[in-house]
């Protein structure tokens, strides 16, 4: 789009959320089934904003959905009331999900962006360590 001339845009600097017509209200269509337009920020990434990243350990997760409701960036992927994982294209690394996680030890922890997920999962703190 960056190379397009002035005569190639829609008038009024209008943007469309979806590619083509949608036949029902998007509230009834999960994000994964939607046909987003190239102008929807859903197709963009803010992954490069992150200095730290959340790592999800499903072994301790109770699917309480606190992380889902309090995530500012629609980055907690929940399906059928279950926590599935994190959308790393949209996560800005704020760390709210970790703060609101009620399990002990936490099911989400922040690590440096470069950290290796497998390594961190392997050395996840135990309940006792958490309480120290």
């Amino acid at each position: 789009m960056a190379k397009q001339g002035w005569d190639e845009f829609e008038i009024g600097s209008l943007l469309r959320s979806f590619d083509g017509k949608i036949d029902k209200c998007p509230a009834h269509t999960p994000q994964r089934d939607r046909s987003y337009s190239e102008n929807n920020s859903h197709v963009a990434s803010v992954a490069d904003w992150r200095l730290i990243k959340p790592v999800y350990n499903k072994d301790y997760c109770i699917d309480c959905q606190f992380c889902w409701v309090y995530c500012p960036d629609v980055s907690i992927i929940s399906r059928d009331k279950k926590m599935i994982g994190i959308d790393m294209d949209h996560c800005k690394g704020c760390g709210i999900c970790v703060e609101v996680c009620p399990t002990n030890p936490k099911s989400l922890l922040m690590f440096p962006e470069q950290a290796d997920e497998e390594t961190e999962l392997a050395s996840w703190p135990t309940k006792d360590e958490e309480e120290e």
Partner: protein, 407 residues
């Protein structure tokens, strides 16, 4: 509840405000969001009464300021339907921010602007300060010289503005009080004929189309803004003029009343001419005819379409004229008059050598009398004979005290 049609006589005695309100009623507008201000108030009151008497099916929203009036109009237009309002002077100044939003978002809205001076000092009478203030706002601007034209141009404006190739809002100017409050005979169209001419509103990019969600009013910075503003200007320069001509032609076919972007009167063989807007055009025409009896071949050019400015039509209209006076009804604020500048711009790169002079007149409703125009035509004849402007380039007409002239 179905709304009622109104039976009109072929010729009704209407002032400019009522003529505009009647045209708005006949256009079957979906939403009018408005706020009263002298001298356009009777348009808003008239429309309110039509609504109260079941002649209007659409929504009428009386808001709390002119800024809100235009904000409501923008929201309504983006939602997808026919929208109009009216204002004057300070009201226009307050809504000016939103005028730029409306044109930038390419939303068709019709605004009746009953021209009035801008304070300070406070003044409720007619001049063109408000019209000029929003000249760069990206709106189409028509100018009505009489109640008949206020009526006709309203119907025309919806057609032009709402066309999908255009989608640019339009202002219809008329002089405060002299046009807006002076009743004259107005040839009417029946409700059905008028509505059929305007046509059904055809939505585009409408927020109420839930199958196609749209985002209006984005932010664009240095990487995108220029392209969108370029498109706006391009469409004003290349699409709107042709569309206006097309709708003028259709209107003539329907009514026999012919409109032109530049209205020429006795210009074919004229030596001298006055270019002006508003009710002054009619006064100037009368004086021009009288001057011909005195041996001065005088003509008058009225600007019907102020934006997009009819550069080529103006140049064509005055190309054989020896001396031309451009009349600006607005305090120039340290420059030449706006119309003077536009016309100079139209001529500068031509081979034409016209003695061009500018006059500031009629501020705050001060009369432009026939005597003023007789003197002016005589001055033009002297310029024509000398082949140059013998006076200073900018003069004031009709102001008390020592003569004012500059440049």
């Amino acid at each position: 509840m179905a709304f009622d049609k109104m039976e009109l006589k072929d010729i009704e005695v209407w002032d400019g405000n009522h003529a505009a309100a009647q045209a708005m009623r006949q256009a079957q507008i979906d939403v009018v969001a408005a706020y009263p201000i002298t001298p356009s108030t009777p348009i808003v009151e008239g429309y309110a009464k039509f609504k109260a008497d079941n002649y209007v099916e659409g929504e009428f929203v009386m808001v709390e300021s002119e800024h809100a009036a235009m904000s409501g109009c923008v929201g309504a237009a983006a939602a997808g339907g026919r929208v109009a309002t009216a204002t004057s002077s300070q009201g226009l100044a307050l809504m000016a921010e939103v005028l730029y939003q409306a044109s930038g978002m390419r939303l068709p809205i019709v605004l009746n602007l009953v021209n009035r001076a801008l304070a300070a000092p406070l003044n409720v009478n007619g001049d063109h300060s408000d019209m000029y203030m929003v000249r760069d706002s990206g709106w189409i601007q028509f100018d009505a010289f009489s109640p008949q034209e206020a009526y006709d141009l309203n119907l025309i404006a919806f057609r032009v503005s709402e066309d999908h190739d255009v989608r640019i809002p339009a202002i219809i100017n008329q002089d405060g009080f002299i046009t807006s409050h002076t009743a004259q005979g107005v040839h009417t169209l029946s409700d059905d004929v008028a509505y059929n001419f305007v046509g059904e509103y055809k939505p585009m990019n409408d927020m109420l189309d839930f199958e196609n969600p749209v985002t209006h009013g984005v932010q664009t910075e240095e990487d995108w803004h220029f392209e969108h503003k370029a498109r706006q200007h391009n469409d004003m320069m290349t699409i709107v003029p042709g569309k206006i001509e097309e709708v003028f032609a259709d209107f003539e076919k329907l009514t026999g009343r012919k409109y032109n972007k530049v209205e020429c009167y006795d210009m074919n063989d004229a030596d001298v001419a006055v270019v002006c807007m508003g009710t002054s055009v009619e006064t100037a025409r009368e004086v021009a005819t009288e001057m011909r009896a005195k041996g001065i071949k005088a003509g008058v050019v009225g600007i019907r379409v102020f934006r997009p400015f009819p550069f080529f039509e103006i140049a064509e209209a005055i190309k054989d004229i020896k001396a031309v006076a451009v009349l600006d009804r607005c305090a120039p604020g340290g420059a030449a008059g706006t119309l003077f500048n536009e016309i100079s711009g139209s001529l500068y790169n031509t081979d034409l050598k016209i003695a061009l002079s500018g006059y500031i007149y009629g501020l705050g409703g001060r009369d432009l009398t026939k005597a003023h125009l007789v003197d002016l035509f005589n001055e033009l004849q002297a310029n024509a004979d000398a082949g140059k402007v013998l006076t200073q380039q900018q003069q004031f007409i009709g102001v008390r005290g020592p003569k004012l002239a500059y440049l």
